[in-house]
Symmetry: C2
Subunit: 93 residues, 2 copies
Amino acid sequence: MFKPLDPLLHSQLRLAVMSLLIGLEEADFTFLKEKTASTAGNLSVQLDKLEKAGYISIQKSFRDKRPLTTCKITRKGISAFEAYVENLKKYIE
Amino acid sequence: MFKPLDPLLHSQLRLAVMSLLIGLEEADFTFLKEKTASTAGNLSVQLDKLEKAGYISIQKSFRDKRPLTTCKITRKGISAFEAYVENLKKYIE
DNA sequence: TAAAGTAGTTTATAAAATAAACCTATTTAT
DNA sequence: ATAAATAGGTTTATTTTATAAACTACTTTA
């Protein structure tokens, strides 16, 4: 009946990040921070977790001499997100 | 864009309980425990939180000489659940 | 050159989820 | 009659998360 919800995705901030990335395919740290209205610290930690899970990939570079962190959803991340959504629907129908 | 998700409902077990109660209007502890496949301890704690939030009401009585805990969703609980679902949809569309 | 801003990371704290242990009473087997 | 198992939970302890606060490193502006 109620299948377990992927704990990595069942988190407000991580879910919002994945939701953005699934539409955009690529986004930088500042963009994600603004769109999710999160603090930098929290976002940094949660992006780390998503990367360690293989749900996103993170590229670090420089733009205009400043650090630039770019995030991209992976195929694994897309499937995990889709599975999570299907699953979650059972809870809210 | 992403409104905050009611932390009381954004929990796997509490959400499953509310999901059941919104359909049934009333259910006892054992039924909820079975349907949600949770441990008694966890369920006990989470029902307490839902009650303290005013989302459910809990009646304690006896059936066949044994303790019987019956839960019912409140009007407040119904609105909170509906608001949560509407909100959550923004994350998963 | 000092102050303020950018782009983050690390560390510490608070809150949540979960499991393990416990409690009280009842039923069943010996 | 009594020991063991079961029912129906609660309480306490431990682990995991989420979040905020503090910090780092560098750049730009006054």
